[in-house]
């Protein structure tokens, strides 16, 4: 089966081709879902926001002029909507309390290889790290998630967040300083 280019799919979607847009959505959905998930720490919110982002993108596809890649554009929509959602959630103080262990899978191969004592210490550090990421100011949190958890360069993250690469560099530094100060008691215990 022919793999259509992003440009071609975008052009078809602009003409109202729902299948072309769904193909695009499935191509980028996983990454976008994960970014939203890291930010909201709630799978239901992440699901809803992910779908909303794609619907918003489809509705406003005519405004996409191709100055950036479609991937960056949809990422930007998703992150902006998630940041707005987080602001609203903070205001309403109805933050859903999902247990930390349900938010992230803290188990991976390296984790399994650790001895029981180290395993407990690392688990504790990870739980504290998740909480600490969640308490970062939104711009720092979004930058940290995009760069560290999503593997974006400063330049890519700057396009998504609509700021300069230098701003991302500064936010990353500040985010790391904040995380370091919050996790200081736990960092010394890791060997």
């Amino acid at each position: 089966m022919e793999v259509l280019s992003e440009d071609r799919l975008v052009a078809q979607a602009k003409d109202g081709d729902v299948e072309a847009f769904t193909t695009l959505a499935l191509r980028y959905r996983e990454k976008i879902y994960q970014a939203i998930y890291w930010m909201t720490q709630n799978p239901h919110d992440a699901d809803d926001l992910c779908q909303e982002a794609f619907l918003h993108a489809y509705k406003h596809l005519i405004k996409f002029k191709g100055n950036s890649s479609f991937y960056t554009w949809i990422y930007r929509i998703a992150v902006n909507r998630t940041l707005n959602f987080l602001k609203k959630r903070m205001r309403e103080k109805k933050r859903s309390q999902i247990p930390v262990e349900e938010c992230f899978s803290t188990e991976n191969n390296a984790f399994h290889r650790s001895n029981p004592e180290e395993k407990t210490l690392r688990q504790e550090l990870r739980e504290k790290l998740i909480q600490a990421i969640h308490t970062l100011p939104n711009p720092y949190q979004a930058s940290f998630i995009l760069v560290v958890l999503q593997g974006m360069s400063h330049s890519q993250a700057s396009q998504v967040l609509g700021c300069s690469a230098n701003t991302i560099s500064w936010r990353m530094f500040k985010a790391r300083k904040l995380l370091q100060s919050k996790l200081l008691p736990y960092l010394g215990e890791i060997k």
Partner: protein, 200 residues
């Protein structure tokens, strides 16, 4: 060199956003600064742990569900858009002719509005006869009302004929609508007056 600047470069170096020249300066500084060395170790540890965090995997079943939900929402959205009155105007081949028609209509309405005085005058002439007809329809077969109306018209005629305003008299005589609608008695009065006038 200030530690803050070095620490920012250390943060950049973790994201591979730093030049080789700066890397050399970092190493030079780190060799003698234990605070920055500790900072590097700690942020490296944080990075390592953060990168090992995993969001839950989405199963292929969940992906299919997502695609189905999205497709359905997109179709619904498309249908709603198509229902909109202005949806068709997004197409330039609809927008341009529609604009021309709308502008033409606007001009026609404007012209009609400007000529309305003339049209109203025309309709006034015809509505006078209609008004007289309407009066007689309203009176109907009521003898009392008919008598009262004729009395009123007779009084008006007498007043008119006793007047010295000859222009007004001529206007009366030329107005066939009134002639047609006058009663026998009113016509006799007029006839008598015309004879008198001719004799004098």
């Amino acid at each position: 060199m200030k530690c803050q600047r070095i620490q920012r470069w250390l943060s950049d170096s973790l994201d591979e956003a730093i030049s080789g020249k700066k890397k050399a300066l970092i190493e030079e500084h780190i060799a003698t600064c234990s605070a920055c060395r500790t900072f590097r170790e700690q942020i490296e540890r944080i990075n390592e742990e953060a990168m090992s965090l995993e969001a839950p995997e989405r199963s292929s079943e969940q992906s299919r569900e997502f695609a189905a939900r999205l497709r359905s929402a997109l179709v619904e959205m498309g249908e709603k858009n198509n229902e909109g009155v202005f949806h068709a105007f997004r197409n330039k081949w609809v927008f341009i002719p529609a604009s021309v028609i709308m502008i033409s209509l606007f001009i026609l309405i404007f012209v009609f509005y400007e000529k309305r005085d003339f049209l109203e005058e025309e309709s006034y002439i015809f509505s006078f006869g209609n008004a007289v007809e309407e009066i007689y329809r309203e009176i109907g077969d009521e003898p009392a009302v008919q008598e009262a109306f004729h009395a009123l018209v007779s009084a008006s005629l007498n007043e008119m004929l006793s007047s010295t305003d000859w222009e007004a008299k001529e206007e009366w005589e030329d107005n066939f609508f009134l002639w047609e609608e006058l009663s026998e008695e009113e016509l006799r009065i007029l006839e008598r007056e015309i004879k008198n006038e001719n004799n004098s």
